[in-house]
Every structure is written in C-alpha cells, then in structure tokens.
Subunit: 138 residues, 2 copies
DNA sequence: TGAAAAATCATACTTTCGGGTGACTAAGCT
DNA sequence: AGCTTAGTCACCCGAAAGTATGATTTTTCA
C-alpha cells in the first residue's frame, strides 16, 4: 500500500519532468495541449486501474470481506452455529469438527440440523453454497 | 462497458475544454504546468480506479473468471468430471446430478471417486473447497 | 485399425449424514 | 423465581455418500 503510493508519486514526478522537458525544448505546447491531456489521462487511467486492482484483488488484507450480520441476525443463526458452518465450508467431517470444537459429534449434528432449517436447505453442501451467497461466510 | 468508454471520452473532452478555457482566459499556464498535471492525474487516477472497480466487481458479466485449465490438465481431470464437480458445488445430491446428466447414480459415484483421488481429498465438501481455491470452478 | 482413455453401470459393503425426539445445563432477562 | 435461548448430548433409523472391484461401451487418436 505504501509502495503503491510511492510509485504513484514517482510516476507523477517523472511525468512532470518529462513534460517540462518537452515544453522548454520544443515550445510546442501551445499547439497541442489536447495531446498532453490525452497522454496524461491515459497514463493515469492505467495507473488508476492498476491501483484499483491492487486494492480490490482477493487475498489483499485490505480487501474487504465483511460478514453480513444483518442476515445472520435475521435468520437467527447463533455464534456457535456459524463456527460449525465455517468448518463445514472448509470440508471437515462432523467428526473432525467435533474434535476441533471439543464437543461430541451429536452436538455438531444438532447444530447442523438447526442450521439447515434456518437456511432452508437439506444438505451441507447447499448450506455452504447459500451461506456463501449471503456472505455469511467468505 | 460501452457506457464506461463513453463516459471516459466525455470526461476527457470536458477536461480539454475546461483547460483550454482557463488557458486562453488567464494565460497562467506557463506558471504552473505541474498544477495542471497534478489535476489531470488525480482526476484520471480516480476515473481509472472507478473503471477498474467496475471491471472487477463480482456479478459483472465482463468480470473475469477464467478456469485454470493448466491445473485441470495437470491433474488429469476430464470434462465430465468437471461437470459433476460443478453440480456438486451447487449443492446437488448424487441422485439429482444423475438425473440432470441422464446417467445412473453409480456413474456419478465413480466420477466422484476418481475426482477425489485426483484432487487428493476424501469428501465432496473438500473437493469443492479445493476446486475453488485452484480456480477449477467459480 | 487397434490401443488407450473416458464414460458408463453394477454389486456389495462401510461410513457418514441427516431427521426426529427427548433431555439436561448454563446464562440472561423480566 | 420463572422463562427463554443457546449449547450440550444421546439414541435410533433410514438415506446418502464413499470405497472397492470388475466389466462393457464410446470416443479418441496415433
């Protein structure tokens, strides 16, 4: 991020320098200011797209996934259920989830049953799919 | 997309006009070309970011998901297997998949078994997770 | 045309999931 | 103190998923 800003400033400086140079060297500026504008515009549109992409790209810490809390509350999904749901989404079996959360498999099943009802689905794969589409999980 | 390009051109034209106007009106251009550059640069960086965002945002048809064909080939995953995998990712049961592809449930199971071996996973949820992380499916 | 790869299906068996039901405990609220 | 909610667990049973093995048919392609 800091690097991005630095590069941005650098490009700006270089451009100013280059344009200044052309300006005083040939004195053609008056003839084609539109050309200058176009040039700068294109350069910086490209820069902007690059910056935007960097800001947007998945895996970037600053890239935003924020949980849809409204939906979670609306559906009445509890903290624990959400926790289980996330582990399901990672592909763990009920047994593995139970081990990871230090509870019995039966408990996991209960959580999942409740979850399925709240999400109006029948299978874990559907639950994951729906939860993803609702941004309940990433 | 077409609209985006149009707006881009429009901003460009307006900017040229505005600058021209200031130029001929006050004749201050020689004093602060850096200011002009900065101005245009900022405007178009912003434009670029917006354009980039539009291009990137999920749900946009032009937003690019392209299948990781290299990985698919490397792993030796067939066309049919991929098809099954996608339906699994949508949360369908083996029976539903079988119905949709007009084959028997056993065939689906075979495809999935082969798929699991190729992806080195044990469960359908893991397969989906891994396939997603490898961009085999969206 | 003939071998290899992909797709199909079956049978048998094991494991995992999911539904239904009931119950107990702890925490929080009124 | 009584009520509600969340979390925990158990048992049963049937359905779905997954494993293993073997076999047949299609497609592909050298």
């Amino acid at each position: 991020m800091k690097k991005t800003v630095l590069i941005y400033g650098l490009i700006l400086a270089i451009l100013a320098f280059v344009l200044d140079y052309f300006d005083y060297r040939y004195h053609v500026r008056e003839l084609d200011i539109e050309f200058y504008i176009l040039f700068i515009a294109v350069i910086f549109t490209a820069t902007g797209i690059m910056v935007g992409r960097k800001l947007n790209k998945p895996g970037n810490e600053t890239s935003s996934f924020q949980r849809n809390s409204k939906a979670i509350n609306f559906l009445g999904i509890s903290e624990r259920e959400l926790e289980v749901l996330e582990l399901v989404a990672e592909g763990l079996s009920n047994k593995q989830i139970a081990g990871q959360l230090f509870v019995s498999v039966n408990t996991i099943k209960t959580h999942l049953s409740n979850l399925y009802e709240k999400l109006e689905v029948k299978r874990r794969t559907q639950a994951v799919e729906k939860a993803r589409s609702l941004s309940l999980i990433k």
